[in-house]
Symmetry: C2
Subunit: 339 residues, 2 copies
């Protein structure tokens, strides 16, 4: 039965030690954005995991694999930690081919394939880092980030394309305005260093992207999100992406350290579990990375590392008017400006 599943990418082969690079020898040379981006995300995986381990006291477990034609991945998971119920940081490099419709959707340029006839599947390269961290304490927010770089090769007369995507966003169960000013403020400063228009644009994009449409509410309290970014030269956007992924720890860890020992009631824990249920709804129904991954036969355990360890659903639950739960529900329904 498992064998009837269509896989768009090759089977993975587990390795004890991840190779120094997941790139293709002789092709993805040092001077390419592909090679530079791989270094950025692998360094980020190391430094972020180290910072999290210092706060938690427990270590990440690592799984690494490679694929026959190049590419591979490194999944790091800290399960049942002291501070985090589950924290995962994935790095992956994928060489594959996508159908023309996917290519058209991804590039956002319908002109590219015009009058080209049947061009077949377009070869692509994708590298990315993605992470979700679910703390135990209901006063500590969940955090997610993802930074990726995409390239298509020149193919049947269609020029090669490239773009960056990514973002960091935060999902508290309760509003702490100071924390939100710190988190959004950190990313506003990062954005402002690269383009004064970025923060406003990417903050709005984040609120729109993480909308749970069937509920009319956002998953969390936002952050930044961008996709198909190629409006400046690639080196310039690489610098911005690097700066953004390198500020995950500064934006998030102080909030967790501040709240990890906060006292909490059973009711507050239950509310966190309900919000985790919403997290599951968003990821399985709307998240592009997750839904794409499930359909194309990527490594399921890495894709679903984003699931919380525990989640809950109650029928028709409504927070009491005036409660702190009602307060954050209002912010999920009407995204606010924090900085």
């Amino acid at each position: 039965r498992a064998s009837t599943m269509q896989r768009a990418i090759q089977e993975e082969n587990y390795v004890n030690q991840p190779p120094v690079t997941l790139l293709r020898a002789g092709i993805d040379t040092e001077d390419t954005i592909r090679a530079k981006f791989e270094k950025v995300i692998r360094d980020a995986q190391d430094s972020i995991c180290k910072a999290i381990e210092e706060v938690d006291g427990k270590k990440f477990h690592q799984d690494a694999w490679i694929r026959a034609d190049g590419g591979g991945g490194i999944s790091r998971v800290l399960a049942d930690g002291n501070v985090w119920e589950k924290a995962g940081v994935n790095v992956s490099v994928v060489y594959g081919s996508m159908p023309p419709e996917a290519y058209r959707a991804a590039t956002g340029n319908p002109e590219l394939l015009k009058n080209k006839g049947d061009v077949g599947r377009v070869p692509f390269f994708a590298a990315g880092i993605s992470s979700v961290m679910h703390p135990r304490n209901p006063h500590c927010p969940t955090m997610h980030f993802n930074y990726r770089y995409f390239e298509t090769e020149e193919w049947n007369g269609i020029p090669g394309q490239w773009w960056f995507g990514g973002g960091t966003d935060i999902t508290p169960s309760y509003i702490d305005e100071e924390d939100m000013k710190h988190f959004h403020g950190t990313y506003k400063a990062v954005c402002d260093r690269h383009d004064p228009a970025y923060y406003e644009k990417f903050k709005k994009w984040c609120d729109e992207y993480f909308l749970i449409k069937h509920r009319g509410e956002t998953r969390g309290l936002g952050g930044i999100f961008f996709d198909d970014l190629n409006d400046k030269d690639p080196e310039t956007i690489l610098k911005f992406s690097t700066d953004a992924v390198n500020h995950v720890v500064a934006a998030y860890c102080p909030i967790v350290v501040k709240h990890k020992d906060d006292p909490f009631t059973e009711q507050e824990k239950q509310w966190q579990q309900l919000r985790r249920g919403r997290y599951v709804e968003f990821n399985l129904v709307y998240d592009r990375g997750t839904t794409f991954g499930l359909k194309t036969g990527g490594r399921i355990e890495s894709i679903l590392m984003s699931m919380p360890q525990t989640a809950s659903w109650l029928y028709d639950h409504k927070p009491a008017p005036g409660s702190r739960e009602a307060e954050i529900m209002d912010a999920f329904r009407n995204p606010r400006t924090w900085v």
Copy 2:
């Protein structure tokens, strides 16, 4: 933000008491299959809820609503029961219109719209009962059933169509062969009374439908499932559907009564929670009723009543070889014949 959500069906108006009928006065007269089917599912809702309350000791809570142009629903939920963590039984009657693509897919007959030009949205009637019950004890299985009747009106020269769909299926965390023989045996007997070919066909359909494709495993241990059924006259299929929905209690309740006080370990409870996580994955990613409901703006709390009260995900969890968990995993990967 909520107002930007597209609703394909009208807003619901809550009522304290559900009306005697959710049908349209003077149109859906007593002699129509629509009226007969509504009676079947409302009677089944009453009798099934009564039987569940007798086992559990706690009562269902009821929410009822109607829509301006006819139709409505009755949701009954038993939350935090003695035996069931969450049990829900929904009845709904919907008058709406569907785009031609949906009509073509639903009827399975591409010829119907051939050379008809732009026919616009096709008016339909749909009535159904659906239910999911999640017990507390990991040795008591979760059970789901759904029976529905669909009709389209004659429209722009296209003749009206009708079909039945439904099924009952069971999702244990551990295999009890005797229980599976009882459950499948009950439905085999129901099927055999109406058509000797039904059980084998609908058992296989059930195994195929409830496959979690990205895992290569089924959600549970099956039962029966059928859709687009219109190969006999409607009165004949109505009799079969009636017989099937009226055997839910006989097929399921004895199993719950047998196991509701079974001792269990923390590890068994944890395994049940992981299987509930899989239940969530199936329902949010693949279940047609759920994904359709979320997209068309049906009543979210009724659609997601199927979610378990609690669910869990662990990274890369693998049951120990030879364990009872490994035993049922094998049956999820290689569906068995029980009777």
